[in-house]
């Protein structure tokens, strides 16, 4: 196995292509959440069950939002070619993501909602589907962390970090919407 090298330079056109592709994927993903949220309003109109754990949900939201700080930091550091710093930031963001995921698991397991009820079933559909996206996000952040630790990113090619962190931001945004729609409205 040859020693890993840093990534080759990307042309401006390639960067545009990759962003375009990512936005298309996010468009498709957004359709998923639009459908899921629409189902929630169809099923349960504007009622929110009193059994939702707003405190836990709020904590999860807080951790997600805070994770954006090291995530964005990693983007900045990767742009400068600082793999060491980027790696550390990605690691922190990843740990926070894992913590948030653990919170979601605890919530799903402990919440006293009946999965057969109108609100309950949409709640589990949404949190379950979103949880799958958190898992993907964690894998992405782990992969980026591992690549940074191997010094793959440089000033001319750090798109993976930008794209991966954008996906993570999407995951966080979807959670914030989910929190508002399922815990509050």
């Amino acid at each position: 196995m040859s020693a890993p090298v840093t990534y080759e330079k990307l042309s401006a056109r390639q960067v545009r292509m990759y962003w375009g592709g990512l936005w298309l994927i996010l468009l498709g993903e957004a359709m998923i959440f639009v459908t899921v949220f629409a189902v929630r309003f169809l099923m349960a109109q504007a009622t929110v069950s009193p059994d939702v754990n707003r405190l836990l949900g709020g904590l999860i939201t807080l951790v997600f939002l805070l994770s954006l700080v090291p995530a964005q930091g990693a983007v900045r550091e990767a742009r400068q070619g600082r793999n060491d710093l980027a790696g550390r930031s990605l690691g922190i963001a990843n740990l926070m993501g894992i913590l948030a995921f653990a919170g979601v698991i605890v919530d799903v397991v402990t919440v006293k909602l009946d999965p057969g009820s109108r609100f309950g079933e949409s709640y589990f559909l949404a949190t379950g589907y979103h949880a799958l996206h958190i898992v993907v996000g964690i894998i992405v952040l782990s992969a980026l962390w591992s690549s940074a630790r191997r010094g793959r990113f440089n000033i001319n090619n750090h798109w993976s970090v930008e794209g991966g962190v954008m996906f993570w931001k999407f995951v966080v945004l979807m959670w914030v919407l989910l929190y508002v729609i399922y815990f509050w409205i």
Binding site: Y7, R13, T35, S147
Partner: protein
């Protein structure tokens, strides 16, 4: 790149990635299903065990085929050590060359078509008599109906043209050296076989009763094979989604110099529009499938009597109607590609045809309730009848363009041309009979009868499959490098036309005579119609061996094909048959549109070798 030992026998060298993928799939399934069984104290055929088993099995399959070395390790910062093979070994492993992927899709679609077609022959054998005699019970018949429909709609109709031709020819037609995201493209094919296998294995769990439309609440309470339906369709949907992203990206970013938006070939326009529909609507049916799984496994109550039984149908058809346009648009694109070539005439009303495609795509998301006219409240009837009727107007633009091109042309009735024209004639009947179904009063009688079965077979089989064959014969010289046998090609076109119409036209009559859909047994007064349908159906089915043998034999023994046997003008014909690995020796520079016949003299049309133009840098390996 690590090399595999030259002393290893050839056969193993070819198949080991698929074998490894299968083994890892089995291991993944075993871990998932037994793991869940152990954790929850159940058996490994419990519903949750099946779901988790399938997911882990799918993961194992993807990794085993090559994604582990080519995707996962590079993500985590290692080198990409995957050998994409050479010669025939490329097709049985993860490979990023769009031409290889296109052929993988074509084979996948072909095999699924063969299996689903044989199932249809079984169904028609059953329907030779009013009683149940071939299938041991009606559940197996319903399962056959479901597998036939699901395979045809999810793993043939979209996979054949969108996956097969789309992958192979879109980069060539825009003058690119590959798709925009070759790695994503490579993995997209690997979702197809698990989807097909899931559907084919559903009988092991008792089959499923619902047909390809999976209506709840029947789907919630019937046999466990329904789970494999949900999971199989989900997997096939992922493949469409990834292909869609690639096609759009390639058309937007990878066009050769001079290929402006108003010069884009009709097939590429059709593929772009199709791919936008795929990206938007496949996720919706994915959510529907997920909810179906949850209603069985958790269980939730989305679709039960206390929930919203019609919600399944709404979400399904929100996807389902755009799906049929996803199926037809590429075929329409093929008509408008092939007909100018074999009429030696400029494509008529190019702009209107493109507007037609785009308008159809925009409207397609607004008409879905016409599948549910007999189920919904009165308030939804007129709006959806209106939209459904209106969509015929842009569809007409395609015929406008087609007819204007044929008129005063010089028509060479070669096999591709015959299939394209037959496709247009069949689709005229199919689309025309759609008017009877769009009209609500008329639909109240016709819904769920064989009239509907005839209508959609005319559009999908008569339209898209005939269009697929037009494309296969048109492009066979390009992707195989050899010419097929023209006599047997024409023979197959006429045979298929005659026996197809004799089989399916009769179904309009059966439907009007009170034969409803998805029944294994019927009342004796319908016997004659069904016997007539079945016998012609068998003759129609048998006819498919002609093109199959024609293609297989010609691939090895056919005359070598020149770069441009048809005298066409689009870019794929400006390179060798088959194209070299990088598609074009030098980047084509497009100087005028592709449909202007009789106007510009050789050699200035199309390709102009220009050594001073630098190749735009493609995607690097180890990256996405």
């Amino acid at each position: 790149m690590s090399a595999h030992a030259a002393s290893r026998p050839r056969f193993v060298e070819i198949v080991w990635p698929i074998l490894r993928a299968s083994v890892l799939a089995a291991i993944g399934y075993a871990i998932g299903s037994f793991g869940i069984a152990v954790i929850r104290g159940g058996t490994w055929t419990d519903q949750l065990s099946i779901v988790v088993g399938f997911v882990l099995g799918l993961l194992g399959w993807l990794l085993g085929g090559g994604a582990f070395e080519a995707w996962v390790r590079p993500w985590f910062g290692h080198e990409n050590t995957w050998n994409e093979g050479h010669g025939i070994t490329r097709f049985f492993r993860y490979n990023t060359d769009h031409k290889v992927i296109g052929i993988q899709y074509m084979w996948g679609a072909g095999l699924a078509f063969l299996v689903a077609g044989l199932i249809a022959m079984g169904m028609r054998w059953e329907l030779l008599t009013p009683q149940l005699d071939f299938f041991t019970n009606r559940t197996w018949y319903n399962t056959a109906v479901g597998i036939h429909g699901s395979l045809m709609l999810f793993s043939v109709s979209v996979v054949a043209i969108v996956g097969g031709f789309g992958n192979y020819f879109v980069p060539l037609m825009v003058g690119a050296d590959d798709m925009v995201f070759p790695q994503v493209n490579g993995i997209s094919w690997w979702f197809v076989l698990p989807g097909i296998m899931a559907l084919l294995l559903s009988p092991l769990l008792g089959g499923f009763e619902t047909g390809w439309t999976g209506y709840a609440p029947l789907a919630t309470t019937d046999e466990a094979g329904q789970l494999l339906y949900y999971l199989g369709v989900f997997s096939l949907g992922v493949s469409s989604l990834l292909t869609g992203v690639n096609v759009i990206g390639t058309a937007v970013y990878m066009r050769a110099p001079g290929l402006t938006w108003n010069r884009i070939p009709m097939f590429v326009w059709a593929m772009i529009v199709t791919s936008v529909l795929n990206v938007m609507w496949v996720p919706v049916v994915g959510v529907d499938m997920m909810m179906g799984v949850m209603d069985r496994v958790v269980p939730t109550a989305f679709f039960g009597a206390k929930g919203f039984p019609l919600l399944w149908q709404d979400l399904f058809w929100l996807f389902g109607h755009p799906e049929v346009y996803i199926i037809m648009l590429p075929a329409w694109g093929l008509w408008l590609e092939i007909i100018p070539v074999f009429s030696r005439k400029t494509l008529f009303a190019y702009r209107w045809a493109v507007i037609g495609f785009i308008a159809i795509a925009l409207l397609s998301g607004t008409v879905w309730v016409h599948h549910m006219f007999t189920a919904v409240s009165a308030a939804r009837l007129i709006p959806f009848m209106t939209d459904t009727e209106i969509i015929s107007i842009p569809t007409g633009f395609i015929y406008l363009s087609l007819i204007g091109t044929l008129f005063q042309g010089r028509l060479r009735l070669t096999t591709p041309m015959l299939f394209a024209l037959f496709s247009a004639l069949n689709f005229l009947i199919g689309g025309g009979t759609g008017i009877f179904l769009a009209d609500v009063p008329s639909d109240f009688q016709l819904q769920d009868t064989f009239f509907v079965v005839a209508h959609f077979h005319y559009t999908i089989l008569g339209g898209m499959i005939f269009g697929w064959f037009a494309g296969l014969y048109y492009w066979f010289p390009k992707f195989s490098g050899r010419m097929y046998n023209e006599f047997w090609g024409k023979f197959s076109a006429w045979w298929m036309l005659v026996f197809y119409n004799l089989t399916f036209f009769t179904m309009f009559v059966s439907g009007l005579e009170g034969m409803n859909r998805r029944i294994a047994t019927y009342l004796p007064d319908l016997t004659n119609l069904n016997v007539f349908t079945s016998i012609n159906g068998f003759l129609f089915g048998v006819g498919f061996f002609v093109p199959l043998l024609n293609f297989l034999i010609s691939a090895y023994r056919g005359k070598r094909a020149p770069a441009n046997p048809w005298g066409a003008r689009t870019l794929e014909w400006m390179t060798s048959s088959p194209p070299p690995h990088e598609n074009f020796e030098t980047i084509p520079v497009v100087r005028e549109d592709f449909y202007g016949y009789g106007q510009v003299k050789e050699p200035e049309q199309g390709l102009f070798p220009n050594p001073t133009t630098t190749r735009p840098t493609g995607p690097t390996t180890g990256d996405d």
